[in-house]
Amino acid sequence: MQQSKITEYLEAVRQQIRWKRAQAPVLEEIRNHITDQKQAFIREGLNEETATERAIAEMGDPFVVGEQLDRAHRPRSDWPLLVMTAAMLLLGLVIQYLVGPNIPFGAESFGRQIVWAGIAILAMFAAYFMDFTILGKYSKGVFLVLCAITIASLFGEQVRGSSVAAIYPLLLFPTAFAGVVYSMRNKGYVGLALCVAAFMIPAYLSMRIPSVTVLFLLCISYLIILTVAVGKGWFNVRKPLAILMMYISTAIILSATFFTMRDYGYVMRRMQIVFNPLRDPTASGYLGSMAQLLLSHSQLIGPGLPIKGYGDYSVFRLLPDANTDYLLTHLVYRFGWIVFIGIVVLVSIFIMRAILLCKKQKSILGSLVSIAIISTFVIQCIVYIVINLGLLLLSPVSLPLISYGGRALVTNMFLIGLMLSVFRTGDLVRDKAGVEGTVVNSSSFIQYDNGQIIINLRNPFIK
């Protein structure tokens, strides 16, 4: 009988709290309080019924309480990040528009990018209102589904010999991986080993595209996620040992795969060009060398100086992919380094704010997912910039939100939406029970807790 009175009271409070997700944790705290108060009254000698009524009365008017709690618990969007996302998206479209007239099919590309932008915005809002905790609850399922999608994409569209369609599902892997790490936490060295093993699947798939850039992105983000997880003690292992094991096993596996490739001599020669395109400026190192050439003719503000020796070819033919892979290089040549600086500043501010909010995350799942997403974003940016400076010769994935490419745009916007969802609701996320990060391991036979030695005879291993 008394329980129903308490439930009635809680229900009245609940109805004042508009944000559904906040209701459960808040009401639990209130329920515990009423119970504590009731026990106190019972100890003072009141009977259960009176104690319950008095305890409820002590709480106060449920509507007032509920209303105050409602005010304290509103979902808060992070406006700076939303604004910056919109800014980057808009910037990307403006740049596409400016570059359009100069490249083949420019106008059509711009039109298509606008359509993709619309779809991307929808994807972002879908992710924004999604409950990101499913990444924690169904981590293995999500991971497997993503593997299946990636494998299917490997048989899709081929561009210049690579299955480019598989790049985009792979971009989502760090985030899915974060969920897997979350589910493996507290499982010690075994859990850690399983995570390393899990990572090998997307890594292998990226090599089947083949895309060194994606492989690199996956490796770095996976190392970041695991290092943070081990570093914060979420695996319950000896940190220096675990970190060493992790990095060494990854290095071994990657080198082993590399050296067992059929034509690894050829790959070695290509890798040399990757890191120094100027070794072969007219053939395999062409793009990187040309990028460096354009940049060396660029000014701080204003168009770059004409390039001698290439006849009448426009820069857009000399260095193709102006709207996709080499957007920054062309912008610098046409408008000056100032544009580059501006874009780098905007992107950096976005990244720094996102990292700040990642650090403020209180839940393990929230931290892992947001770190995974921001890593994906940062690595894409860094790789793109380095390639556009002509220092590396790889095919960049994208400059998130800015470079041309519908699927990249949708994927990146989806990830950003997911990250914003974490920032908005992360405070309410409870890491599932059964995780005892810092609490004594309750399954041990003998425990020392707070000055007492407790011998647990209820342990199932003792009959």
């Binding site: 639990e28 309080h33 106190a40 106060g60 449920p62 105050q68 709690l69 304290a72 609490v439």
Partner: protein, 114 residues
């Protein structure tokens, strides 16, 4: 005697922070603690306390964590942060200034200014 509510609300934050400055507590403990230490002058209503705690946590003045009690109940404990301590210090200074001024105005032999 019962204190006028308007006198209470302004300083409730300060009192809660002061309680937590000593040790981590959960909601019910705070109400009991406050009542005992003030000789039952401050009888804070739970319905006022929890919204306050949640707001302070959102302002990063407190952090909360959960601990399982012996009877398998999970309790939410609150701990003061550096920002919280700073705020407490500011409010304490504010309070001292305020009370000194009021006492001066109310007068009496002990408060005469030279």
């Amino acid at each position: 005697m019962a204190i006028d509510k308007s006198l209470l609300t302004g300083s409730t934050t300060m009192l809660v922070l002061k309680l937590l400055d000593g040790t981590d507590m959960y909601g019910y403990q705070m109400i009991e603690g406050l009542s005992k230490q003030s000789n039952n002058v401050f009888r804070l209503k739970a319905g006022t306390l929890y919204p306050l705690l949640h707001t302070l946590e959102q302002k990063d003045m407190l952090i909360s964590y959960e601990e399982t009690a012996d009877n398998a109940r999970v309790r939410k404990y609150y701990r003061i942060t550096k920002k919280g301590r700073k705020h407490l210090h500011e409010k304490k200074e504010e309070w001292k200034t305020y009370t000194a001024a009021v006492n001066d105005l109310l007068g009496g032999a002990g408060f005469a200014t030279v």
